[in-house]
Subunit: 146 residues, 2 copies
DNA sequence: GGCGTATCTACAATCAGTGTTGATAAACAA
DNA sequence: TTGTTTATCAACACTGATTGTAGATACGCC
């Protein structure tokens, strides 16, 4: 993701206005590796601007996604997650217990679909979701007496 | 997925009761390759039993998923999709235009995560989602004049 | 500083899915 | 077959994430 300053320029270059709310959201997303939901971005943003509304957060996140500066992901955790890392291709680790999401930066070159198996689909992208338990949830789900 | 008769036995063996509604749902799912949502299963079921309720469909689908007879998938189409094919391992093709889902039966052996890249996650499964356009939507999204 | 328009907040509405409750019917035994 | 127990049913209210609406506000530009 670009810096808040670069995003400010980009928004203006696209005829979008830059408000204090939006810059607040730009800052909150900087270096956030947690793949936050809109609610999570909102609660971070509220700490800086008590008056910001959830709707504004949703709208700005959609704007950023539309401009390709963040990715919006549905990883089956019940909420759309937002990923500021759009610069290097990667896949995702998802904790099936707490919903934590992390990037897995690794190339899997052999995702070619065998001839004839694509059922006529024109495939544009492939995402891999690795499901399991994050380190913290491995602790809390240990069997009590074994 | 098992046949309606086998599912009837399985439900009884698990202390569940077998009702006309449930058998109707068993039948509807047989050989359904469309990965229907609960609503889609409901609208098929209603054609056989006008009085069946959506809640019953949800409940039965959850029961089937709990018994491992169908899989419930969140593929980012906005609804949980149900997949009666749990017998051979496969991945999914998802149309980004109409949300159509199809099985892609192919093994991708090289999904080993490089040492140290798993961030401490204990990974249990990997799903691959191939996104693109289904044959029908390739037609309807053709550029008008090129 | 002032104007035009995008954006803001607040609030209502949507949509998929879940919780509740009294009525119904499956399972099983007599 | 009938009775008893208990899971399941349908109807309806409700949740939680997200989106739509509308009047007030403030950005960008002169």
């Amino acid at each position: 993701m670009k810096t808040p300053e670069e995003l400010t320029e980009l928004f203006r270059a696209n005829g979008r206005k830059v408000t204090a709310q939006r810059q607040c959201i730009f800052r909150v997303l900087q270096g956030d590796v947690s793949h936050p939901s809109a609610e999570a971005v909102y609660s971070s943003a509220v700490r800086e601007m008590e008056t910001i509304s959830l709707k504004t957060v949703y709208q700005t996140l959609h704007d950023l996604a539309e401009l390709g500066e963040i990715a919006s992901l549905d990883l089956g955790t019940g909420m759309i997650r937002f990923d500021p890392n759009v610069d290097d291709p990667h896949h995702h680790l998802v904790c099936r217990h707490c919903g934590k999401v992390r990037d897995l930066v690794a190339a899997f070159p052999d995702l070619e679909i065998p001839r004839g198996a694509d059922l006529g689909f024109e495939v544009g992208s492939a995402e891999i979701v690795f499901r399991g338990l994050c380190p913290e949830c491995q602790q809390s789900t240990l069997q009590p007496s074994t």
